[in-house]
Amino acid sequence: MGLNRDVSLLTGLRYKGQGPMLTFVLHRIGGLGMGIFVTTHILASFLGGEAGAFLNAIYENWAFQIFIFFCALFHAINGLRITILDLFPKLIEHHREAIWIEWAVFLPTFGIAALVITMTALGG
């Protein structure tokens, strides 16, 4: 069996999926980021020692914390939108408006947190 889509990476990147496509891609990046982060974090706690300290040093870095906060917050807010639209299918008619609400919640929340993390890291 098996599907053969016959679509190159370049064609895929040029796909104009607009807003919904962007949330799909970011949801995936966020999910993968958290999956890798949480798995290595559990392993670091389990192993301890030098390897654990090395891994802990990576996620205590402020730049990494901004990245993982982006992953967690976007995945959580976008996931809540998907859950609400899927459990109440009549709302799917308004799916584009739902994405705008999502950004209105995400951008200030993430922006303020990223600003505070950066200012603290730069000593101010």
Binding site: M1, G2, G31, L32, M34, G79, I92
Partner: protein, 144 residues
Amino acid sequence: MNSSKSRNLSLSERGLNFETLMWFFTRLSALAMYALILFGMIGALVMGARNQMNFADVMRWAFMPNVTHVQSTNVPDLAPWVSVFWKSVAGLLLLVASAHGVHGLVVIADDYIAGVNGRKVIRLLSIVMLVSVSAIGLYVIWTS
């Protein structure tokens, strides 16, 4: 504009299989994680986190109510934070989150691996990953 109207098919028309159940589980576990994280935040405030922890520390505790996430704070008495109750809440959050996450990895892998054998390998690996991550995580939570 008819195509944008939602359709409501009954379960017998739609077909009920493992993938449908996991689709539903992914949504329900998202809500469950929201509830557990809120529960952890409220629990932290009840145990007096307002005076000894900043918001980042409370969030770290809420995302996984594990005592090692409060050790570096100014909380004087760790006993309430290390109880069997909070270890159970942390264990529940771990199991829900790892099942949600590993199934998500299978969904992503299915988009790139379309062959029947490849998908079997992905499913086998995902079961191994789910069992090992859950076991190691539960060990870390219960021995900390």
